[in-house]
């Protein structure tokens, strides 16, 4: 057996060590997926509240709350937020995945909110006026006319945020959660070898990001159909 094959064997095959990566990958995907969902819902909500306030002066109290949320979340490191969630807020919870989902979801929501808000504010005021002049209410105008256009405009920025989120989940090891990165770390601590597990982890992240980018690109092209 060549040196490479031997290393591959000890790092991944021996004692079924690849299972660390597989299980870690599963956790990474679960956390990312649900955090994205929370982040999108939270982000759109906050963005709509903030742009409604900017345009109409309504929802003042909610706008202030959203402002505080954005300041705190964007002003502190993700890792600290995760540890506060685990060691302080949900101190009695054993469900690390759930804690991570919530922490990453709340964090991502703040960034999604600003991305979506910039999208809403970039839509020409005339679009609002056209919608309102036809008799659509403010929420209907948002839903049928503004959001579809805003969403299309911010899709690249949103995709970027999700890529950042996916990679950021690699700090889950700090609360003892075995994500993909932690899985590689465990192998490294068993085999005393850095190259194989780290490169493997890097390649898996890369494949996921490339796949995600391709998916978003496809969606973007479909949405851009109206701009031929």
């Amino acid at each position: 057996m060549s040196d490479f094959q031997l290393k591959f064997y000890t790092n991944f095959i021996k004692e079924d060590r690849y299972l660390y990566l597989l299980k870690g990958l599963g956790n990474t995907l679960i956390i990312t997926l649900f955090a994205v969902i929370i982040g999108v819902v939270l982000g759109f909500l906050v963005a709509i509240i903030r742009s409604t306030y900017a345009k109409t002066g309504k929802l003042k109290l909610l706008n202030t709350l959203c402002g505080i949320y954005l300041t705190v979340i964007r002003g502190t490191p993700m890792m600290i937020q995760l540890m506060i969630m685990f060691y302080v807020v949900f101190v009695s919870s054993n469900n690390k995945i759930l804690v991570a989902v919530i922490a990453f979801g709340i964090n991502s929501g703040a960034y999604v909110a600003e991305i979506v808000r910039s999208g809403i504010m970039s839509i020409d005021q005339g679009q609002f006026e056209a919608g309102r002049s036809l008799g659509f209410s403010y929420p209907q105008t948002m839903w049928y006319i503004i959001m579809p256009q805003a969403f299309k405009n911010v899709l690249p920025a949103l995709a970027n945020e999700f890529i950042v989120l996916l990679k950021e989940t690699s700090i889950c090891g700090y609360i003892g959660l075995m994500d993909l990165t932690r899985g590689g770390d465990i192998i490294r601590s068993r085999t005393y070898e850095a190259f194989m597990p780290l490169i493997a982890v890097a390649i898996i992240y890369l494949i996921m990001v490339v796949g995600l980018t391709a998916l978003v690109g496809k969606l973007e092209r479909r949405l851009r159909a109206s701009e031929r």
Binding site: D124, G126, E129, A130, R132, S137, S226, E227
Partner: protein, 252 residues
């Protein structure tokens, strides 16, 4: 809005009483009172910054008045308990910059509001939209997107989009000002056709020829007030207000 009282020609559609609008310290509309009747084609002219667009946009509350009352079909729409969305369904509007929805096809632009707001079945709404498209000679654009149209075509679509809601009146805010000169005619023709069919129209424009030929009343707005209003013949032949004489001498 619930009763279906037929509105006859000559009935008052808009009754505007002491309308005021301030932007901060700036007084844009200063005590405007007038009536607009069914079947009228009211053309509003005036120098830029005179408040004519603000006045027009107040009629469907795109600008909220700071004082005075606007009654539409007998009801006070400035009352904050009234549902402005219902009134706006009856008040069409055409904008200087068209404001078509770029993410929707022409047909979708026209049928969105009738389907969602008037609950007209999709097939019926599309059938009617196609008939309107035929009237303005744009049938082949039904599946196109706004970005594929010329300015004149966009504005004709904007007009028929407003028509799809069966409005009692249409407001035009400088409908030809953003158009290349050779496209102005096609839009004015559509508007003249509408006027002939008896559509009530309130038009802010700089097209004096159109005002003279199609308007039933011309209104000169300056410094936030109606300084003079008259039939087109009188308005252009015998202007009484000094500012109006000056204005007309500059543009004709």
């Amino acid at each position: 809005m619930s009763d279906n009282k037929e509105i006859k020609n000559g009935d008052v559609l808009f009754e505007i009483e002491h309308l005021q609008k301030n932007f901060g310290d700036l007084q844009v509309l200063n005590d405007i009172s007038t009536k607009i009747r069914k079947g009228e084609v009211v053309v509003i002219v005036g120098p830029s910054g005179s408040g004519k667009s603000t006045f027009l946009r107040s009629l469907n509350l795109l600008e909220e008045p700071t004082g005075g009352v606007i009654k539409f079909e007998g009801r006070d729409i400035t009352d904050k308990h009234s549902n402005i969305n219902l009134y706006r369904q009856k008040i069409g509007m055409v904008f200087q910059h068209f404001n078509l929805f770029p993410h929707k096809t022409i047909l979708e632009n026209m049928t969105l509001a009738p389907i969602k707001l008037l609950k007209i079945p999709k097939a019926d709404a599309e059938k009617e939209a196609m008939e309107l498209l035929e009237r303005v000679g744009l049938t082949e654009k039904a599946e196109a997107y706004p970005s594929q149209l010329s300015g004149g075509q966009k504005q004709r679509i904007a007009i028929v989009r407003a028509l799809c809601m069966h409005p009692d009146v249409i407001l035009f805010d400088e409908p030809t000002s953003a158009l290349d000169p050779e496209m102005v005619g096609e839009v004015l023709n559509v508007m003249a056709d509408l006027a002939r069919e008896g559509m009530t129209m309130v038009i802010v424009t700089h097209e004096m020829g159109f005002a003279r030929e199609v308007g039933t009343r011309v209104m000169f707005v300056d410094e936030g007030q109606i300084k003079e209003e008259n039939t087109p013949q009188e308005f252009f032949a015998n202007p009484k207000n000094e500012r109006l004489q000056e204005f007309l001498s500059k543009i004709i």
